[in-house]
């Protein structure tokens, strides 16, 4: 009995191969984009963990000095006092974009992800100058000359050179340590930290690395896109499976009349959904791998460009993400088939043959959807205004998008009802009336389209706003022409004399690492100069802000610090236990995860007498010529002199890279939505005959009807696209004003780009036209006998 039932149910798919294809492709697309994004995220996270916790910095406490940088002597003093600590020297290798990580193999924590030095002679080679640098295979080609011999190791983060502590300090030309980590399980009886040196401080392990924190938002964006694609794919599957149920109503009635129990029928249909999900899910995982492999190099470039995070460009297969891929496929199939199964299990035996039973349920569904949509939009508003935290931000995003999608059918119905007043011709009026009636059948595809389009508007608005603000900010922040780094205080003094006659201004850049609000930060000392007064990107400030900074009675803080600790103009900043200053202004500081403060130069010198400036910002008439002279005549290495133009160009290049992946996903999502529209139109086309046949019989040509159908699809797409603009702007606002603030600590002003919307409308129309083309063609070529069958046969 079950077998016969299964055969009967399956025969439907055998006869409707296109529909079967739509279900499977829909599931594959839903699973594929989700899996692809997850694979990218997983790969990136593995890379961060590898990079960040190579030495356990992320989960171990650290010791810092309140009064300046850590040196090797601090490490030795701590060890001799009984503390089990390990030193790390980490920093950028100048002019290469590479990072040097030096560790001490003798004290590094157990289980640290550092090279294996077990082989004969390995430890000697590692310690004895020139030493060895361990690098990822992808990094080999980027190594400059003059480095120790390189050994290749897959477990090293790309772009990183792992070497012995002393070798690293030589490469970095530094006598300071970047951190001292405190191992777990410290022995009893060690000297208390405060007895050793009052300026030692034990700091809690940072929750995740800076990189992980910075990139969290990026990955949340990716995940959101993955979910969005998944939702769009689900719409496709839901529509296709719903149609298959609709078309098999008579079959269900017959099977049940012949004695197949309702429970068995539902079970068979559930099994069918399971099989479809397995096939679609498998294809989706393959697709996801392809997507991930194609996008990962871009993601890797983005992450290293924007955040300095190193991610391998090659993909490793992890069972976790393909398993979650299947889980998502099953969830998707269950969601798509669930409501149909639920209805089927509750309908009386003869009801399924009544065509309007489902239609009436649809009308009720539409009402419930509309109220649900309004409820979600309200929730989004409340979350947006009152919500707190990144999760609330994303919940707000989800509520906004889903609520807007649910309102699409109702909104379109209302709009078309309004528009139909303007049409006077009989055909026009029929088209409006018919379009309105068609909305429920296309609603899922239109919702998918709205999601894709509003995501597009939202993301392009965010990217555009980011770009506009970023360029303006770069101009302000990089107001000087040349940035020069000297190597010693003596050289710095000589340098100032050397350039004195050729420059308008030479401003020292001087900074110290201090603790701001309990986390590591920096304080800068600046000279009172027009460069700052005229250009510095202040977000807010007291009227006499620069006078007060110069006079040593005020401090400027960056936006991140202001937002993190709620310290704005007028508040008091604690720079050290005995050092407090009033905040007189807040400036924007994009791309910096840490807190920062700016004080007057004299105040800085008085506080940090040991620190003398080595870096200088120079304004000059002929910066290029001056740069040549500095290199040729003064003898500073070329890397030590940076031209402002180059920095800007590089920053913009990094920026463009950053959003390549976002754009790619945008296009993919739009493509999936286009597919959804095509699938809906194709399946709906066969059900359209009873609507079209009478009109045709009354004297409209099939070509005319097909043209009208195309127009209808275009109108619906256009209206959906128009609706998508405000939804997209809402999305952009949430991204800029909530998610960015929570994730990065800065807020970007929103800018709008109507030209982008016009382009998007055009794309929506092109997509709709492409999606409608095939179904329309088949209507135009439909044999009259097919249309006549409508009148001759009972459906």
């Amino acid at each position: 009995m079950i077998r016969a039932g299964a055969q009967a149910l399956w025969s439907h798919w055998a006869r409707h191969r296109l529909q079967l294809l739509v279900v499977i492709i829909g599931l594959a697309l839903a699973t594929g984009l989700w899996t692809g994004v997850q694979a990218i995220n997983a790969e990136a996270r593995v890379s961060y963990d590898r990079a960040a916790s190579a030495l356990g910095q992320t989960n171990l406490q650290q010791i810092t000095r309140a009064d300046g940088p850590l040196r090797l002597a601090d490490f030795v003093a701590l060890r001799r006092a009984g503390w089990l600590v390990s030193p790390i020297a980490q920093g950028g290798l100048r002019g290469t974009g590479l990072e040097v990580l030096g560790f001490d193999p003798f004290t590094a924590p157990q289980g640290a992800a550092v090279p294996d030095l077990r082989g004969a002679g390995d430890l000697s080679a590692f310690l004895v100058p020139p030493g060895v640098v361990f690098v990822h295979p992808e990094t080999v080609g980027r190594l400059p000359d003059g480095l120790p011999p390189a050994r290749v190791l897959d477990t090293i983060a790309p772009g990183r050179l792992v070497t012995d502590l002393s070798i690293a300090m030589q490469l970095l030309r530094s006598d300071t340590l970047s951190s001292i980590i405190v191992l777990e399980n410290q022995p009893q009886g060690r000297t208390p930290l405060s007895d050793l040196d009052a300026s030692y401080m034990l700091s809690a392990p940072s929750e995740g690395s800076d990189i992980a924190r910075l990139t969290d938002s990026f990955h949340l964006n990716l995940t959101a896109f993955g979910l969005l694609s998944f939702a769009v794919g689900l719409f496709i599957v839901h529509a296709a499976i719903g149609l298959a149920f609709e078309q098999r109503r008579v079959l269900f009635r017959t099977l049940r009349a012949l004695g197949l129990p309702q429970r068995a029928l539902v079970g068979l249909l559930a099994a069918e959904a399971f099989v479809l999900a397995t096939v679609g899910g498998s294809l989706g995982i393959v697709l996801g791998y392809v997507v991930a492999a194609a996008l990962l190099p871009g993601v890797a470039a983005t992450l290293s460009g924007l955040y300095g995070a190193s991610v391998s460009g090659s993909l490793s297969l992890s069972p976790i993400w393909w398993l979650t891929g299947f889980v998502m496929a099953y969830i998707g199939a269950a969601a798509a088939a669930g409501s149909s199964l639920w209805q089927l299990s509750r309908l009386p035996i003869l009801a399924p043959a009544m065509p309007r039973a489902w239609a009436r349920a649809n009308a009720r569904t539409a009402r419930i959807q509309a109220f649900g949509g309004l409820g979600l939009l309200t929730a989004a508003l409340i979350l947006g205004v009152a919500g707190d935290g990144l999760v609330a931000g994303f919940a707000c995003l989800a509520a906004l998008l889903l609520g807007a999608a649910l309102l699409v059918p109702t909104a379109l119905t209302l709009i078309i009802r309004g528009l139909s007043r303007f049409g006077t011709g009989v055909v026009t009026r029929w088209v409006w009336a018919d379009t309105r009636q068609q909305i429920p059948a296309l609603s899922l595809a239109l919702m998918a389209l709205l999601l894709a389009l509003s995501a597009n508007v939202g993301v392009s608005t965010m990217v555009g706003s980011f770009r506009g603000t970023f360029i303006g900010w770069l101009d302000q922040r990089l107001a000087s022409d040349l940035y020069v780094t000297t190597r010693t205080p003596a050289e710095a003094a000589a340098f100032q004399d050397f350039v004195a006659d050729d420059v308008h201004a030479i401003l020292p850049i001087i900074s110290a690492d201090i603790t701001l609000g309990g986390t590591p930060g920096e304080v800068f000392g600046i000279k009172d100069h027009a460069t700052y007064r005229d250009h510095w990107p202040l977000l807010e400030g007291a009227p006499d802000v620069w006078d007060r900074v110069a006079a040593g009675t005020g401090v400027l803080v960056n936006e991140q610090l202001a937002r993190r600790d709620d310290l704005w103009t007028g508040a008091t900043l604690t720079l050290a236990p005995d050092w407090r200053m009033q905040i007189v202004g807040v400036y924007s500081d994009y791309g910096n995860p840490a807190g920062q403060a700016i004080i007057g130069y004299d105040t800085f010198s008085a506080r940090f007498p040991d620190i003398s400036p080595l870096r200088f910002a120079i304004s000059a008439d002929a910066p290029a010529a001056l740069r040549d002279r500095i290199v040729m005549d003064f003898g500073l290495p070329p890397d030590n002199t940076i031209n402002q133009e180059e920095v800007k160009a590089f920053s913009l290049e990094v920026f463009e890279q950053t959003f390549l992946v976002t754009r790619a996903l945008n296009v993919l999502t739009l493509g999936v939505a286009g597919f959804a529209l095509w699938a809906s139109l194709t399946t709906v086309a066969t059900m359209r005959l009873p609507q079209l046949a009478p009109v045709w019989a009354l004297g409209l040509t099939r070509r005319h009807l097909a043209t009208l159908e195309m127009g209808r699809a275009l109108v619906l797409a256009l209206l959906t696209a128009v609706l998508a603009v405000p939804v997209g702007l809402g999305l952009a606002w949430v991204l800029l004003a909530i998610v960015n603030v929570e994730a990065f600590g800065w807020r970007l002003p929103m800018q709008v780009f109507p030209w982008d919307w016009a382009q998007l409308l055009l794309w929506a129309l092109v997509g709709a036209a492409l999606a409608a083309a095939l179904p329309m063609r088949s209507i135009a070529k439909l044999p009259p006998s097919e249309l006549l069958k409508v009148f001759a046969h009972a459906r």
């Binding site: 309007r356 011709g425 009989v426 055909v427 009026r429 029929w430 009336a433 018919d434 309105r436 009636q437 009873p690 609507q691 046949a693 009478p694 009109v695 045709w696 019989a697 009354l698 004297g699 409209l700 040509t701 099939r702 070509r703 005319h704 009259p784 006998s785 249309l787 006549l788 409508v790 009148f791 001759a792 009972a794």
Partner: protein
């Protein structure tokens, strides 16, 4: 005046077992103001002939002249114009446009053909007993009501030739007879010609002439 003249009309369909010859050289004619019943068993080709006359399909051979025009030579737009302006078809079922209400359905054909006459349409609605149902949608009507709307729609457009394909085939006998009465009455009032396909000899007898089809030829 000869409204319809069909000569040697043939038509075959492609099926899984090869071509099926449905009409094998049928000829018939109809004068304005008269009615003709086309009878025959299922598969005799009577509906096919009706569709060919209505410009809904194209004959393989032969000529069909309606009001002096040979429609066999018309292209698709030409046949559509014929359906709009000259002939009106009442099918057995699914005549109406689901998305329009009764009033709009009644007026639809007339508006298409540019002969909309509100007073005439209202008069027809009155005569057909539809005045109270004008704002309903097709799905809210009974079968008999739907067929009355279909008849009203054709007559509202002042079609010269009314074609009806088993117009009461889906109705019970009492309702069918009532619909039939209205159809014959109104057709004779307007002076149009009526060609009706039916398998019921009882109904056929009510028309002016009867022609029987058997296996694609006039019996």
């Amino acid at each position: 005046m000869e409204l319809l003249h069909a000569t040697d009309v043939s038509k075959s369909f492609e099926t899984g077992e090869g071509p099926l010859q449905v009409l094998r050289g049928v000829s018939l004619s109809l004068t304005a103001g008269t009615s003709l019943a086309l009878t025959g068993e299922s598969g005799s080709g009577k509906s096919t002939l009706l569709y060919l006359i209505g410009g809904l399909d194209v004959p393989d051979a032969g000529h069909i002249r309606i009001a002096g025009t040979d429609i066999a030579g018309l292209d698709d737009p030409g046949r559509a114009a014929l359906r709009r302006g000259t002939v009106g078809v009442v099918f057995q079922q699914f005549n109406l446009i689901p998305s329009l209400d009764v009033a709009a359905n009644l007026a639809f054909h007339a508006r298409l053909s540019g002969r909309h006459d509100a007073a005439w349409t209202a008069h027809l609605a009155e005569r057909l007993g539809l005045s109270a149902l004008l704002s309903r949608f097709p799905e809210q009507l009974s079968g008999g009501q739907q067929q009355r709307v279909a008849i009203g729609r054709t007559l509202a457009a002042k079609s010269e030739l009314v074609l009806a394909d088993e117009p009461t085939g889906n109705l019970d006998e009492a309702t069918g007879d009532a619909v039939m009465d209205l159809l014959l009455e109104l057709v004779s009032e307007t002076g149009a010609g009526l060609l009706m396909v039916t398998h019921s000899m009882r109904l056929a007898a009510r028309l002016d002439r009867q022609v029987g089809l058997r296996a694609g030829v006039i019996a």
